[in-house]
């Protein structure tokens, strides 16, 4: 041993550098090459993907709008004590008139009103009206003071809650979109939750989780026998049957969704068949689409291959001798399956289950097409707030909650399967 030690001290490359140094240099060089190879994609994903998402999600706390449209007012409101029970002083009213005139000319005042309307209804009309009146107002002809001018516009300005709201929304960052996403609202009395029957988003989150769990359960129920069959057949036969799993997997999502529309709709194939064999009357056709049932059936079909493939790859690794050993020691087929085979497949169920669950809570297209009203999911509402109601802050807050959920599951998936072990087909 000591001889080798001495030798390694003396070992040198042809140009005289000690071997240790040369090796360290080579390793460093190789590490750098490896990093350089990954760098382009890393930058690409950062710039075109992660940064935009982060930027969008930051809209959920961004609240610069009031600050930008009413710069003087918001600054002065900082000194006003909202719990005093009195309206702010003349200086604030003057600032409001000045800011309001600029905003009315630049046509930004309605945006501010719209923003405050998310917190309290009636604000949008108040700001529109205020903007209209301020456009006609000439500071030269000021009769008494600015307070009277503003209070004369609308009596809502006499309401201290309006000012409390204005002050609360003067902060550059807000949590109010998150409150809204959780069906709560910040009022002067503190954080309050809406009544159970008026909740929109909590119901939606619950529904999304419920539907995703049900779909995951159904894919396990339907996928397990298929994976078991494929894993226990001869390679030749199982390869052939595998095509029946892979073909749906490779078929476009929209193709499969339209296929289900053709099958499930009222004048569709299944209803026609049931009427044809006389099981149901022509006037009592089943409503199987544009509701939750339709979404669940088609999503189960769409996600089933994602369950079968990981289950199959786990089952393939279980040696058949395990079951034979259990049988030879007197276990009934059912006991052998329950005590030996099934515990070995838990990892596969976990992997497939999380994968299906992650995919289903983010589903958009299928619920949008076949979901009707009670089959839509959280993604559909995010899309609605982005492209129709234009409440981007709320969309971002809903998106952040959804993303956190998915990330938690992703980490769980990584713990169980390891993202490096992900494979397709």
């Amino acid at each position: 041993m000591s001889e080798t030690n001495v030798n390694s001290e003396l070992l040198k490359t042809p140009d005289g550098t000690p071997l240790k140094v040369a090796l360290a240099r080579t390793l460093r060089y190789r590490k750098r090459t490896a990093l350089l190879l990954v760098a382009p994609l890393f930058l690409f994903v950062m710039v075109t993907f992660l940064f935009p998402i982060f930027d969008m999600l930051s809209r959920s706390v961004d609240n610069k709008i009031m600050h930008e449209i009413f710069p003087q007012t918001t600054a002065l409101l900082g000194e006003w004590d909202e719990s005093s029970g009195e309206l702010p002083g003349e200086a604030v009213f003057k600032a409001l008139v000045q800011d309001g005139q600029v905003a009315a000319q630049e046509k930004t005042i309605n945006r501010a009103g719209k923003r405050l309307n998310y917190e309290k209804s009636g604000m949008s009309s108040l700001f529109r009206k205020t903007g209209r009146k301020l456009l006609r107002f000439d500071p030269e002809k000021l009769e008494t003071n600015y307070t009277d001018v503003v209070l004369g516009i609308d009596r809502k300005w006499k309401d201290i809650e309006t000012w409390q709201l204005l002050k609360r929304e003067s902060a550059k960052y807000t949590a109010s979109y998150y409150y809204a996403a959780l069906d709560a609202q910040m009022t002067s009395a503190g954080l309050g939750f809406k009544d159970e029957n008026k909740q929109i988003y909590m119901t939606l989150f619950k529904r999304t989780l419920y539907m995703s769990s049900l779909i995951t359960f159904l894919t396990i129920l339907l996928g397990y026998p298929i994976a078991f069959l494929l894993a226990s057949l001869k390679t030749r036969t199982s390869n052939l049957l595998m095509i029946l799993v892979l073909l749906p997997f490779w078929t476009s999502l929209l193709v499969r969704t339209s296929a289900w529309i053709a099958l499930l709709q009222k004048e569709g194939v299944i209803n026609d068949f049931l009427v044809g064999i006389g099981l149901i009357g022509d006037d009592s056709r089943l409503q199987m689409i544009h509701n939750q049932t339709g979404t669940i059936i088609s999503m189960t079909h769409i996600l089933l291959p994602f369950m079968i493939l990981p289950l199959f790859s786990v089952m393939k690794t279980i040696p058949p001798s395990y079951m034979r050993a259990a049988r030879s020691m007197g276990a009934t087929p059912f006991t052998a399956f329950r005590r030996i085979y099934f515990p070995n497949t838990i990892a596969g169920i976990g992997a497939g289950g999380i994968l299906v669950f992650i995919l289903s809570i983010g589903f958009y297209i299928t619920p949008a097409l076949v979901g009707g009203t009670d089959g839509t999911m959280i993604s559909n509402f995010i899309a609605y707030h982005i492209s129709e109601s234009l409440n981007w802050g709320l969309a971002a807050a809903l998106g952040t909650i959804l993303l956190l959920l998915v990330l938690a599951l992703y980490i769980l998936y990584d713990k169980i399967v390891g993202i490096d072990n992900m494979k397709f087909g």
Partner: protein
């Protein structure tokens, strides 16, 4: 799994029951896809079988929906858009993804799990969130509603598939082959093109196919990042189903299924070639 000769009665019953259950699940999997083929030849604008079709009367069948598809300028431009966007995003994602996979699979690579996690994130983040993020970002830099915007967005979504597929190919890669080449005096670039490239090609091609199909099927992101000019096939199908549902959709769907059958065959052939090259199967 064949039934042993000494199987008891209950085992026999269970054996056949299990097969029947499996058969029914297979029907559930494949029936919705196959049913579209006959339905797409419907002579009537319905999504179901008409009595004429059931009695196999030739008058009940027609190819009019296919004609509509091939003559409609909307559908034809959708096909062109889909192909252009999928082609370029595949090119970008395959190039970047393969490079990254080569780096990631080197044993010296530091923080592998973290970096891999970031690179795979486009596959994990719900599409609506990706779409919304890209919509705001590309609008700001003026790429919203442009081909470049959609191509870049699709390339980002497709890279994880390339990274995963090529990394999986490289797991079985025998590094002594490149060392052997080096010891015989081959320069690293020469070794790369003569030894590494031929061995990883099947993996790269299947990664590219995954990337292509990702872009070709994608609809959420293109709805947000693209404008009507970039309308792709899935987009046209999406709005078709929403607005004026006609069997043309089923004709398009049938064509797409045929397309995926071809793709599936190519992938299977590649997989076999890959196994043969690595000496993993005797055939």
């Amino acid at each position: 799994m064949s039934l042993p000769l000494h199987a008891e009665m209950s085992e026999r019953i269970w054996y056949y029951c299990f097969r029947i259950i499996c058969g029914m699940i297979f029907v559930f999997l494949i029936f919705p896809i196959l049913i579209m083929f006959p339905l797409s030849f419907n002579a009537q604008p319905y999504f179901t079988f008409t009595p004429e079709m059931l009695s196999l009367d030739p008058a009940g069948y027609s190819t009019q929906w296919y004609e509509k598809f091939f003559t409609s300028s909307t559908w034809q431009s959708a096909v062109r858009n889909s192909l252009i966007i999928a082609f370029f995003s595949t090119l970008i994602s395959t190039f970047l993804g393969t490079l990254a996979a080569l780096g990631l699979s080197r044993p010296e690579f530091p923080y592998k799990t973290t970096i891999m996690g970031i690179l795979i994130s486009p596959m994990v983040v719900p599409l609506i969130i990706s779409a919304a993020g890209m919509f705001f970002f590309y609008s700001r830099i003026g790429l919203q509603g442009s081909y470049i915007g959609v191509i870049l967005a699709h390339a980002a979504l497709a890279t994880p598939f390339v990274v995963i597929t090529v990394t999986a190919t490289l797991v079985g890669f025998d590094h002594s082959l490149t060392r052997a080449a080096a010891s015989l005096g081959s320069a690293p670039t020469r070794t790369f093109f003569y030894i590494t490239v031929p061995l990883i090609t099947p993996g790269v091609i299947s990664g590219a196919l995954f990337a292509f199909i990702t872009s070709f099927d994608e609809v959420v992101v293109v709805l947000f990042v693209g404008s009507v000019k970039q309308r792709t096939i899935p987009w046209a199908m999406f709005s078709g189903i929403r607005e004026q549902i006609s069997p043309t959709i089923l004709a398009v769907a049938s064509i797409l299924v045929t397309f995926s059958i071809i793709l599936l065959t190519v992938l299977e052939l590649l997989r076999r070639r890959n196994e043969r090259l690595r000496g993993m199967s005797a055939a």
